[in-house]
């Protein structure tokens, strides 16, 4: 049998330390096993290959934006402001928990490790058109409750928000046309799109506000 990758990684890293060669038994096995020696060598070469990857030039012209960013000294008058924003976010989270009837969007928005259920999963439970309309109303209230956007915004966040708002405007426009006779299936799809877009918008705005209050 051969050594596992985990064992070989430990051996590789022990080799780099002065006076250490790793587990002697493992070392003896690897020394006498061509396959393990080759694998150890591959892991070593891979690390070197990663370290040798070509460097990527950062975008030019970022310094001006950084230099012009307002100072956020924690000891200044801004600290009460940060606490105020944090408090308002807590209120929003509480509000969402009560508004969304056990399907608190912000609980998912704030989940830190990738366990957030996509909005579409949540919507599947609300196939009924009335439920979608009601959900859209609640999300609208939630968006109104979020703090205003920060003075300094991230370009990527700004683009994402603009894109979501544009898509939302298009859906709203279609839904608001009095002459448009929508089949119930089409209307449901449009409202589902609207709810998904609003859910995404809440997530992005919430995350932006969280960053801004740090």
């Amino acid at each position: 049998m051969h050594a596992s990758i985990e064992q070989l990684l430990e051996l590789r890293d022990a080799q780099g330390q002065d006076g250490h060669t790793g587990d002697p038994e493992l070392r003896a096995h690897v020394d006498g096993c061509g396959a393990c020696r080759a694998e150890l060598s591959r892991l070593d070469n891979l690390r070197e290959a990663m370290r040798s990857l070509p460097e990527i030039e950062p975008p030019a012209g970022r310094w001006q934006a950084i230099a012009q960013a307002p100072s956020k000294s924690a000891s200044s008058w801004r600290q009460p402001l940060a606490w105020g924003i944090a408090a308002s976010l807590l209120v929003v989270v509480w509000l969402a928990g009560n508004l969304s009837g056990g399907d608190a969007i912000e609980n998912r928005v704030a989940a830190p490790t990738g366990d957030v259920a996509p909005a579409s999963v949540a919507v599947k439970r609300d196939n009924d058109l009335d439920a979608l309309i009601d959900r859209s109303r609640r999300l609208g209230m939630l968006l109104q409750s979020l703090p205003g956007r920060p003075e300094v915004v991230r370009a990527g966040t700004d683009n994402t928000i603009a894109s979501l708002e544009n898509s939302l405007a298009l859906v709203n426009y279609t839904l608001s046309q009095p002459d448009t006779a929508l089949a119930s299936g089409e209307a449901r799809e449009l409202w589902r799109s609207k709810v998904n877009l609003m859910d995404s918008l809440v997530k992005v705005r919430y995350t932006e506000a969280s960053f801004a209050s740090l």
């Binding site: 049998m1 051969h2 050594a3 596992s4 990758i5 985990e6 064992q7 990684l9 493992l26 096995h29 096993c33 396959a35 393990c36 080759a38 694998e39 591959r42 892991l43 891979l46 690390r47 290959a49 990663m50 370290r51 040798s52 990857l53 070509p54 460097e55 990527i56 030039e57 950062p58 975008p59 970022r62 310094w63 934006a65 950084i66 230099a67 960013a69 100072s71 956020k72 000294s73 998912r108 928005v109 704030a110 989940a111 830190p112 490790t113 990738g114 957030v116 991230r154 370009a155 990527g156 966040t157 683009n159 994402t160 995404s200 997530k203 992005v204 919430y206 995350t207 932006e208």
Partner: protein, 197 residues
């Protein structure tokens, strides 16, 4: 060796930066912008997010450089701030919403390939592609450990996890990379993986 530790800056400039000299701040930025951007883009694989991490990192560097005591090299101090910022993005819901399509990953690998020469460029592009296919957290652990030289304990602290988590992510990532390389014909497939030998 981490490029953060290869970059050097005159201690006099650091002293000026600590006193709030704007020109010195810019020189710190010029010295470390590339390592910060590269760390962020290797972890996040998204140029826009990497740019934001770079911007946030230097805003914090400038804000806090007055408290930098010089106990560790400036590069290591900046690297820690950048790594924390990149991991914070990785943890956020925002990251999932803004994660680019695979096509953008591919174009990034092609860009890097075009910058190199011959076989080396092809190999670099292939490695970029394989790294892009790892789960974000696994890729972050591999990069922080193998390239930046952080220990498992340091990575665990930054990620709010245990050292065992970091070790298992490293091992899992290398296993996946090996499978991808085997599929691409870059390694022989007869290697058996076992806990005993």
């Amino acid at each position: 060796m981490s490029t953060f530790l290869q970059a050097s800056i005159d201690p006099a400039i650091v002293s000026r930066a600590r006193r709030g000299d704007l020109k010195a701040h810019e020189l710190v930025y010029r010295a470390y912008a590339k390592p910060v951007y590269n760390l962020a883009i290797r972890i996040l694989r998204d140029p826009h997010q990497a740019e934001e991490v770079m911007q946030d990192t230097f805003i914090e560097v400038i804000r806090k450089i007055g408290s930098y005591r010089g106990d560790a090299p400036l590069g290591a101090w900046i690297r820690r701030i950048a790594a924390n910022k990149a991991l914070m993005v990785l943890r956020s819901a925002w990251h999932r919403l803004a994660t680019p399509l695979d096509a953008e990953h591919e174009s990034m690998a092609e860009d890097r390939g075009a910058a190199g020469e011959g076989m080396r460029a092809v190999e670099s592009a292939e490695l970029e592609r394989q790294l892009a296919q790892l789960a974000p957290v696994t890729r972050a652990v591999i990069w922080l450990y193998d390239v930046e030289g952080y220990t498992h304990q340091e990575i665990a602290t930054m990620m709010g996890k245990t050292a065992s988590f970091s070790k298992s992510q490293l091992s899992r990532g290398h296993q996946k990379l090996r499978r991808m390389m085997a599929a691409a014909g870059e390694v022989q497939t007869c290697m058996q993986v076992s806990n005993s030998y």
